[in-house]
Each structure stands twice: as C-alpha cells, then as structure tokens.
Symmetry: C2
C-alpha cells in the first residue's frame, strides 16, 4: 500500500492569472483508513474554469479552498484499499471532489462506481458522461429549452460544456450558432458537430457575424463567457428568450467584478429570462441526464473530445490552458494509468 | 357632439429629460365614427415611467410613438357616442391606449367596461385595480413567488407598482423591505402599509441599511430602479433568489444604456433568476389578477394612493414628476370630470 501522497496545496490566492507559487506541489504521508472509507488512486483529475473561482476568497457556491488546503477537484479513480461494504478493491469510481493529489481518502457515501457503457472510453466519464455533459444537458434543456426552429447561440462553443450544449440544442431541433476562438475549433463545430454557423471571435466582429447568422434574432443564449461577446449576443436576443448563465470565464482572472449585460433595458423590454445555475443543483436529477446523454452516445449522436495531460505535477500549469483556449476538448490530468 | 379634440403630439424625441417643445399641445377636428367604433371622453389619463420609453427610438416592447403622432397613454373614459352594439353612451370604459387627448375614437374590440366594485373610487381602476396593480401582482406572484418568511426588497416602493407589490408579498407571508426617496413615503410604507423595514435612499447608505434589515439576505428583489440601488440589493441576494425586472427608471432619462448588475458573477454563484416582464404579457390572465386584487381591496387588505393632476394641458409637465419622485401615489391626469 502507498504511504506517500503527492498533493497540490493552495499557498496564496492568485491575483489575476495563476502564478508560480500560488500552488505548491508537496509530499505528505497517507493516513490509515477509518471504517467506511476507501483509498482511491486518482486516474483522471478534471480541470475546469471553476477551479479558478474556488481559489478566490469571494462569495461563491461552495466555500473557497482555504489557503493551506489541498486544491479541490473532481475526478475518477480506482479503489486500492477499502473499509466499505459497498465498494471493493478494483472498482472504478467517481471520486467526488477528491482533490489535486495522487490518492484520495473518501467515505463511501461520497463515492459512486462509474456506470460504464460498452465501447465508451473512461475519459468520457470526465466529459460527455460527466459533470460537463450534465451541465450542458440541464442548462440547455431545463433553462434554455429551445423549441424546434429556434436559434441558439453558444459561447465557448468548442469547450467541454459548450460543445455538448450545442449538440443537445441541435437534438431539440434548434439552429445552433457557436462562438469559439480559433479556426480549427470553428471547423470542428461546423464540420463534425453540425453546428449551423460558427464565429471565430478573434477574427470576426461578433455582432456583425450574429446579424448575418441569426436573421431571426436569438432565442437561447447559453452563456459561458460574459463581457463583450455576451453583450453582442444579448443585443440580439428576442422576446421571451432565455439565457442559461453557465459561466463568465472572461472575468475569472480579473480582479474586479464581472458586469452584467451592458444593455439591461433589453432584458426588460424583451422579457428575457436569465438564470444562473451550477451543476450540483441538478445532481438529484443526474440519472435523467445520464440516461439522455448515454442514449445519444450509444446512438452515435454526440461527439466529444478529451484532452488528457500526463502527470499530476503539470496540473498547475495545465489549468491555465482553460483561459488561453490552448486545449482541444475536455481538459484533464492523467494522474495515473487506467487499470 | 364635440367637434374639436385637444391632443399632445410628439414633436421631437427627448434627449435626457423631457423638455418644452418635445411635446406640443394642439387642437384637431374630431372625425365621425365608423361602424363598431365609440367616441370616448377621457376622464383619467395614466402617467407612467414607460411613457418616457415610448418617446425614444429604441428597440422596445411596443413600437415607439412616431414623431408627429398623438402621445400614447392608457386611461379611463366615458362613452359619449357609440356605433357599437356592445357599448352604449354613458358606459365607463378602459380606453386601452387611448392617448393623451380629450377624446379617443376606438373600435369596440379595444374597449372594455370598467368592472366597478361598490365603494371603490374610479381612480382605483387606474392603480390598484388597473395596470399598475396587475403589474405588481403578476411580477410578485408569478416571478418573485415569495414563500412565507422569505425576505423581499422592493425599490421605488412607494410608487404605484411598488406599494402594491410589497403588500402582495406581505399577503404571501414574506418580510418586506421598501426603498423610497423621502421620509414621508417611508413613513407611509412602515406605518400604513405594514412594511417590515424601510430605507430612504437619499439619506441612508442602502447597502448598510440592507445589511441591518435583511440579516438573512434577500430572496426576492422586485426591481423597479436599476443602478446603484439595484447593485446594493443584488449584492445581498441569496441562493435561488428571484428578481422580477419590472423597471429601470434610473436609466430612462439617460442617453446611454442602462447596465445590468455590476456583480454578474453573483447571479451565477447564487443561481439567481432574473426575468424581465411587461404587463401586456399577463393580460390573458387579467381576470385572475383582478379577482385576487379585488378580493383584497374588498377585505381592506390593500391600501393605495391616487394622485390626479387636473387638466390635460398639464400632462407634459406632470409626467416629469415620475422621475423626480414629486408625487404621492399613482400619477394621472384628470382630463375631465367623472359623470
């Protein structure tokens, strides 16, 4: 049994972008298990924009990670030691918020077996069949609720959430326009995922492109970004349109507050619904989401990309790729090899 | 039968506050009625913040009033001539958007008798039992939906909409805090209407007062104002709180756009729902609203104030009181005497 754990610990809260020294990579001894606990060897560690939020001492949906604590993160691992009746050695499990470390010790109540489907790689349970897939599914179907023929815009559309959100909207019969940050991503959205239109916000004026691609206005804005891109979308939202507010990544590295839509009067005039949501609110309905997403995966109706980066030691550097866009699919750390 | 009509015509679009010359008071001949039409002598003309919106050439929920057209406005009048089978001379009617004029000619389909209740003054059908009452009722019950014991904040709380919205929330069992612009209004809210707390935003720091009056945070923000007052409220909104967006009066006289909440990240973190609404969306459910409001009025459970200003010729000046706060209850013009 392992006796040493490697961990990323939050040493100080980042100001702006994450800098060397904000997180420290340390070794600590592994304690023995208590009754009901399992020792999980982490295989995949999820890197998500919300990691940056957790590092800040702001009022948020979970307590911030305390300075000195292991960095919080979700992931998948394998049980290597068990004092649980329910979980046995060798089980592949969702490790909850197991953290940025080689090994997590968790009570069985916080851990569930990965519901494997034949032919589906394990990384998919970090993405399309994991938290980001569920985020996309519930935000789009429960809040966005596009009707056939409606126009849906997704920002950060090539991201782990956005790419699934757009495809879910397509499966509802909507026209889907994606906004992404380079031509390769835009090409993937248009050619592989069947998006009806794509906008490279680094090369095009987003407002002009939306005017061209959304002649009937916008009925659903699946908002991941905030800032000027959000303003360009909101300015074209229709009467009774919906805006699932999933993320505001443009602001996560900023010191100040991230403002709402520049034209809030339009929210009034057009009777727009804006709803912030966090995937943990929907976990009581997770089975519904897995059933829908799993069905589409089995039918080949959803496509996705996973981007594992090898080595826990690279986590603090790799997480920054979420903000530069320098990744291709769901970003994760391969902490150890699959069994 | 009258042959001359006095009308306020929009001559140019106001820049900022309404200035002399933006509206012109003219006399025009009255045409003869067509089949199905009635001639309505206006008795009360409603003055509302939305009048200012209608004067601007911005994308809004109705077409703007065209330059050269009679200013749009709702009101109550009496039928003086009828070519309708349904409406007869002497009927008191809601004149729809009859306009700023002595007489309105309208098709019977646009006109409905005022559903009088015994002992209720006619002006009440311009306020608590009119559009502003319905606005308060549906915004609070359908979007805000306070549960017993929840904390509700209402801005512009002494206004025609806010004062009813707050009382409706009280009738749902909520704690209600009102924000208003002078001590007399605050006193009325606290002493007559039973608000649980009041804030004079001209004399107190709104954020500090909210901290004192809302120790458990804010569950519903009935938003009438926008700007810094809105930001102070949003900063204290709870998980899963709701924000019926009824108005943004702080911005109606501004040239630029009225921005959304300064801390939009909170809308995400706290999973806040924001919903713009306009009363015309709820008119199919008007009977439900009238039944509820009428029942409370009959039981003496709702209080309200009406502020009629005599003389159509004073409309252009009087409407500015909505923005200075220099009025006491629902502002309206008494165009002519009640029968």
């Amino acid at each position: 049994m392992p006796t040493v754990n490697r961990q990323w610990v939050l040493r100080r809260r980042p100001v702006g972008e994450i800098e060397p020294g904000d997180l420290e990579f340390i070794e600590t001894p592994l304690r023995a298990l208590a009754d009901g606990e399992v020792l999980i060897r982490m295989i995949y560690l999820s890197l998500d924009p919300t990691n940056r939020i957790w590092m800040s001492d702001i009022d948020q949906y979970l307590p911030p990670v305390e300075v000195g604590d292991v960095m919080r993160g979700g992931g998948i691992g394998v049980v290597e030691q068990s004092r649980s009746e329910r979980l046995k050695v060798g089980d592949l499990v969702n490790a909850g918020l197991g953290g940025w470390q080689d090994y997590a010790i968790a009570h069985e109540a916080m851990v569930n077996p990965v519901p494997r489907m034949p032919g589906v790689p394990l990384t998919a349970y970090m993405s399309v069949l994991g938290m980001t897939g569920l985020t996309a599914y519930f935000g789009m179907t429960d809040i966005g609720a596009p009707k056939p023929g409606e126009t849906v815009v997704v920002s950060a559309a090539a991201g782990a959430v956005g790419s699934i959100a757009g495809q879910v909207a397509k499966l509802q019969g909507a026209r889907v326009i994606g906004i992404a940050g380079n031509d390769a991503k835009c090409g993937w959205l248009a050619n592989e995922l069947g998006f009806d239109g794509v906008i490279n916000y680094r090369r095009e004026d987003v407002g002009q492109a939306l005017d061209r691609l959304c002649p009937n206005g916008i009925d659903v804005n699946f908002e991941n970004v905030g800032g000027q891109i959000m303003d360009a979308v909101v300015a074209r939202m229709n009467n009774f349109s919906r805006m699932p507010l999933c993320g505001l990544i443009s602001g996560y590295n900023l010191d100040g507050l991230t403002p709402g839509p520049a034209d809030f009067g339009r929210v009034l005039m057009k009777r727009i619904l804006i709803k912030g949501f966090i995937i943990i609110d929907y976990l009581p309905r997770a089975a519904e989401g897995f059933a829908a997403l799993g069905g589409w995966v089995a039918q080949g109706k959803l496509k996705w990309k996973d981007h594992p980066v090898d080595g826990l030691e690279n986590a603090a550097e790799a997480v920054k790729r979420l903000f530069s866009g320098d990744h291709d699919g769901k970003l994760m750390i391969r902490v150890s090899q699959e069994p």
